[in-house]
Subunit: 431 residues, 2 copies
Amino acid sequence: MKETSFVLRGGIAFSESPHGITTYYRGYVVCVDGICQGAFTDLPEEYKDLKLYDYGERLIIPGMTDLHVHAPQYSFRGIGMDAELLEWLSTYTFPEEAKYADIEYAKKAYEYFADDLKRCFSSRAVVFGTMHNEATIELMNQLEETGLITYVGKVNMDRNGGVDLEEKDAEASLQATIDWLEAIDGKFVNTKPILTPRFIPSCSDDLMRGIGKLSKERNLRIQSHLSENVSEIAWVKELVPESTSYANAYELFDTMGTPECPTIMAHCVHSGEEEMRILKEHGAYIAHCADSNMNLTSGIAPIRKFLDAGINIGLATDVAAGSSMNMIKTMLITLQASKMYYRLVDQEVKPLTFEEVFYLATVGGGSYFGKVGTFKKGYEFDAVVIDDSKMFSMRDMSIRERIERMCYNDADAIIKDKYVRGKKVFTSTTI
Amino acid sequence: MKETSFVLRGGIAFSESPHGITTYYRGYVVCVDGICQGAFTDLPEEYKDLKLYDYGERLIIPGMTDLHVHAPQYSFRGIGMDAELLEWLSTYTFPEEAKYADIEYAKKAYEYFADDLKRCFSSRAVVFGTMHNEATIELMNQLEETGLITYVGKVNMDRNGGVDLEEKDAEASLQATIDWLEAIDGKFVNTKPILTPRFIPSCSDDLMRGIGKLSKERNLRIQSHLSENVSEIAWVKELVPESTSYANAYELFDTMGTPECPTIMAHCVHSGEEEMRILKEHGAYIAHCADSNMNLTSGIAPIRKFLDAGINIGLATDVAAGSSMNMIKTMLITLQASKMYYRLVDQEVKPLTFEEVFYLATVGGGSYFGKVGTFKKGYEFDAVVIDDSKMFSMRDMSIRERIERMCYNDADAIIKDKYVRGKKVFTSTTI
């Protein structure tokens, strides 16, 4: 029997829509050839010959998708958090990323990143590297080994990075990108390249246009940053004076993507009606980074408005402006941010519910990878098994209650096992 | 040699003012008879005969003070967090607290609370029990055993608690309070009683007046809640129509305390100029509960304004509206809340700095207990030793950087040892 065909038993929770969480107490979830066959109260006859792993009282939830995370920033997370975006970039981030020119440095730092990503709630991630090809290929090698499914980008930046973190010009940056793509061509199963112009202040017009062209020619997706910080937005308006909005600037360079080849835009804290229209039209994904947006005093993105407008949304940790790769901590901060937007900014914009945030962390971001993020039949089988027994209770709690409690007490939710496309990629040796 | 006289060596950090964090790499901090003698780069000759505990690269910081936490709510923390205050109280909190009429139930639940409080960053706490005398005495017994220094209150509530969580009337509530005080008189060294009228909606005018009188007669401090939620504030205005503000209502009942016998008011999210003046005049303490105030969509208290006005402030977890007793997680959320107040509400009110929040978590709340919360000479010796080696870094970090990083990654900061008044009250057996 194949290793990627089996049955898991335990306390199961997943989203079928943003409006509810489907749960099974001591239920079954079935994986055949890495594909979910559904969740059941009683195990259907046809699956009774499959190997059964009984996790008892433990929780089983879909793997989560971290839609925006900077691998080279992981090692300095949680530092310099009193700064705002542009100061934080120039003081902490760019000097650190410049060190990845040294492959030995990169190798060591990325081992730490890859190992921790393997140990957290994410089964999928969309990752920024640095502008360095060699280091980025090392990162992809390491991520491939984890068994996680990722997109990874060599960063493009030909201006405003300082002497140590700038490519010579648009041509050099584009050529490096092509070299990178050729070097990894056919090398990976789990790890895909994604074009990664850092953000408009880092990329000349020619570079942006070149990225847009490359994306079309090679059917490659793009990730970048949009409308994170008020000073950044003003700067973009100076840099691209003909644009009607920051999103429109990306549009002018043909980098906003299509529904078939969607661009991810991190943040969108200050995106108004025009940017919402552009994001929607292009089928772009918003990577909502609530932790980061609070830490760098950027603000709070109006996710409820984006949801109502039918824009694609996933959650993201945005390490190191977000301080942790823990997606359940991200869920908590997403909820808190949304409550504060309602209370402090606009009481017409209701807070996100726990159900909606759980949906965004699993299906919302998962959909960027296809049929991913839930235990409905036909979805790729990503699952995390969680031991929450450290959290005492005076009464039996429902699976729904335990899932919520876990997100509000992330430090006490211990991952036992993690599966990606039906392969076990991590197992805890301590519980 | 006395057990409460010794030297600790390690990475030391503490506040001498809100504007900086004093650090020593491989420094010494000296405790004689439970009192701190100061921190040093080189150990002074006079202390060289004391027993030295060398913690190597570990961090040593002052114990923190949790200025507001509800013991009976701990076991259901992290649940029902989509509700606002009044719904949350009636749906989750009051039914749970009613169970503490059963002493066996209370005993079991409080064991869990007391044990976790012992294991966290707090060396001091100000605690709400329930209205039940027997359960509250059990809580005090258990807290006394931990070696932590606490104030604990039997809750007064003679209205709006529902059938199962209401005292008969003011007289009954006051008599129960006197009975409770007599039952514990002289029993504890570490555990002091504090008068605890829940909040004005729970206490009739007669009860509030009686508490005020009792406080004066017996020189007992008071704790309560102030201006947490907009619906609550409107309700208080209906209940005490002659009051000019919620704080003034407490003042009318003579429960706002004095600088020598200060009242703690949790929240003050919506406190304006008049309430600030009242708090200041009475020398009251604000227990700032940022996590709780986000979770219950209450809002964000303008702590910068309160600091500028010279009002006493400490930080608090407010479990279970706050979801964790972890004070360093509370510090992170306090920072995020203050940044969002600045960004979304009033850009004249600058965010709190990391230094200020560290000060509030240690000295700010500690001062409620006297000379507590720092390693300056003459302060009571409360200390927490932390292993942060799980957090990898590519370079040597300063103690200041490690302290900040720890707060942003609370799950990876492991407590090795905790001292209160020079007594070791907790030691980890796993690291």
